[in-house]
């Protein structure tokens, strides 16, 4: 009776990011540029023009099993995302490059820690 996972992009390459303690996956094709900041902080410029801020870039991964968000997440989380996945036993959110979550957005200036 396990739910059947919905694989959305099994062969796609993703960039794994660490931000606010959580694991995030950005589609590799959407990442236009990376700009290293102080320490391991990285500013990602997406093809859409949006800029993301990551505490750490873990690397690229291919073959994530991306599942849809489901009703609970859509109800209790206001952000939009392409889906959820698990990497190395840890859940991660696959972001929508067109509407990345506010928690990852970089609004210019000095890269800063966003209050949770």
């Amino acid at each position: 009776m396990r739910p059947v996972p919905t694989v959305l992009a099994s062969g796609e390459e993703f960039m794994l990011l660490r931000r606010h303690g959580g694991l995030w996956a950005a589609p590799g094709s959407a990442v236009h540029a990376c700009e290293a900041q102080a320490g391991e902080r990285v500013i990602l410029r997406l093809a859409s023009g949006a800029q993301l801020e990551a505490d750490q870039v873990l690397g690229m991964v291919r073959g994530l099993g991306v599942r849809s968000l489901g009703a609970v997440l859509r109800t209790c989380w206001t952000e939009s995302a392409r889906g959820l996945a698990v990497h190395a036993g840890e859940p991660c959110v696959v972001i929508d490059e067109a509407a990345p979550p506010e928690a990852l957005r970089f609004h210019g200036g000095v890269a800063s820690e966003v209050e949770e």
Binding site: P3, L23, G70, V72, T75, W77, E79, P91, P101, E116
Partner: protein, 146 residues
């Protein structure tokens, strides 16, 4: 041992000082508390995401679903249990985790009072007596997006 009909059997849980009963057919698994990763921007009752059987699992705070204060801290391995249960009535069924302090027992209950769909997300449907305890009866299938 008293034989109980499936429709009457509930899993009794404790969340803080509150006790509740989940219909046994909605419960898929009881596991020790899963590690929860907080999700920025989530509602208070959504503690975060966990991994269960290789799949991502949203975990809800049972106490907050009952209208109690939060009893679980996200992002950490807390004492207690996570009840993996089917939530809502969608097909294929959607699975979510409920963070509780303790899974007490499986017991047959007779609802003493129906409350209709109340509580957060309208899952509280009534009350029952388990021994001398007053328990809140939840119906996870009654999940509402509101």
């Amino acid at each position: 041992m008293t034989e109980m009909a499936d429709a009457e059997r509930y899993l009794l849980l404790r969340a803080g000082d509150a006790f509740c009963a989940l219909p046994l057919q909605q419960v898929r698994r009881v596991v020790r508390a899963l590690t929860i990763h907080a999700l920025p921007g989530a509602a208070p009752e959504l503690l975060g995401l966990a991994e269960f059987a290789g799949e991502p699992l949203p975990v809800l705070d049972l106490g907050m679903l009952l209208g109690e204060a939060s009893s679980a801290a996200a992002g950490s391995q807390v004492a207690g249990v996570t009840v993996v249960a089917r939530i809502g009535d969608s097909e294929p069924p959607e699975i979510a985790g409920l963070a509780a302090d303790e899974a007490l027992e499986i017991s047959a209950l007779e609802m003493t009072r129906g409350t209709g769909a109340s509580g957060r997300h309208g899952m509280v449907v009534g009350e029952a007596l388990a021994g001398e305890r007053h328990v809140t009866v939840l119906d996870l299938a009654a999940w509402k997006a509101a």
